[in-house]
Subunit: 222 residues, 2 copies
């Protein structure tokens, strides 16, 4: 007799994440999962970051997660790095990237030809925080115009990430919030969190973020 | 023999939404479900809107949806209107408000004493679009700093809503995007959508939004 059983979906997801992690680690590919609200500036930060990493001899690739469209992929493609678009719309419009999407995308990337893989997650400050993909580091981008209450209202994201980039600091003179307010509220949720101010528009702070990547990568693959 | 069956969760959700709608309609309470990314300005818009509606003789109440915290409720409470906080964290940290949360919240509001109910959804441009709550109108707030590609990347939200408020127009001089870009992209996704520019900071456009509410309400309960 064959009695169907409800599988533990989360355990299966963790197993897949672990497989991705092993596969990437065997090829010495350092992987960063970047998450944020819609429009916080993930793609704009990547377009500033990838050329700088290239000048440090780091070969990047990007997995672009979106519900629909290839708008962000096109911006990354223009940088002349491998990019794989993951659209969740044909799979129910998932509000996050699961590790199965990464497994499929890895089939399309030559892991011997890259040193660093960015995963740009679906713009969502809630659901992506719940899923491990097999990444080495999780990074959250928070933009100043979103306001300094966000860490308190969406705490899980700020608990699971290793670094927070506070973007759009160029708007500081026109807002009622600044980097220091933001950092204080982030630290209330996660005192261990590294927090860096950046402006993808002016390039401010991007080098400090690149330095962080290089240091973290060296800590894993030295 | 009792064989357990997987219930159609979505059908059950629709049924609950319909019950809410009937209950609100019987009391002539016009209900607006407000959705957006985190930090687009839903609460700030409500704090500008509710006193103006009061001056038109409209008695408001608010259901505040958050994963955790009562930060937004406290701002609304200061306006001296009934407010019920719905925190989804104890229920798995839901990334949206489902109709069952509304049914529960309605138990705590005297529907005879109000004319208009705002539901401020969890900040998320993806998942809340998928659930009817029993509301009369759905409104999405999009803030200028989020960028004009958002309607194309998160189309479902822009398909299901009746009105889009484009907030933070006070930042126009400092951004590469303006209200007209935004409106064009919104219209590509939903040509029927009403789009209004507002600034919760300066109060610009708030009266036009209040007029829209009064007109829509009059169309339902004349």
């Amino acid at each position: 007799m064959n009695i169907p059983m409800v599988k533990n979906v989360l355990a299966e997801s963790e197993e897949l994440a672990h497989e991705n992690q092993k596969r990437l680690s065997q090829k010495s590919v350092f992987t960063i999962n970047i998450m944020s609200s819609p429009g916080a500036g993930k793609t704009a930060i990547l377009t500033q970051t990838i050329p700088r990493l290239k000048s440090h001899g780091i070969r990047c690739a990007v997995i672009e997660g979106d519900i629909t469209s290839t708008l962000d992929s096109e911006l990354i493609y223009a940088l002349n790095v491998p990019v794989v678009q993951v659209n969740t719309a044909p799979f129910g419009g998932d509000c996050h990237i699961g590790p199965h999407f990464i497994s499929a995308a890895l089939e399309m990337i030559n892991l011997d030809a890259i040193d660093l893989l960015f995963v740009e997650n679906v713009g969502n400050l809630v659901c992506p925080a719940e899923f491990n993909l097999g990444e080495d580091r999780k990074v959250v981008v928070l933009s100043l115009p979103e306001g300094d209450d966000k860490p308190l209202k969406y705490p899980l994201m700020f608990r699971v990430c290793h670094l927070c980039l506070v973007n759009k600091t160029d708007l500081t003179p026109y807002l009622d919030v600044n980097f220091e307010n933001m950092r204080e509220h982030i630290c209330l949720v996660n005192g261990e969190m590294m927090v860096l101010p950046v402006s993808a528009k002016t390039g401010e702070g991007i080098q400090a973020w690149v330095d962080w990547i290089l240091k973290e990568r060296a800590g894993v693959f030295n």
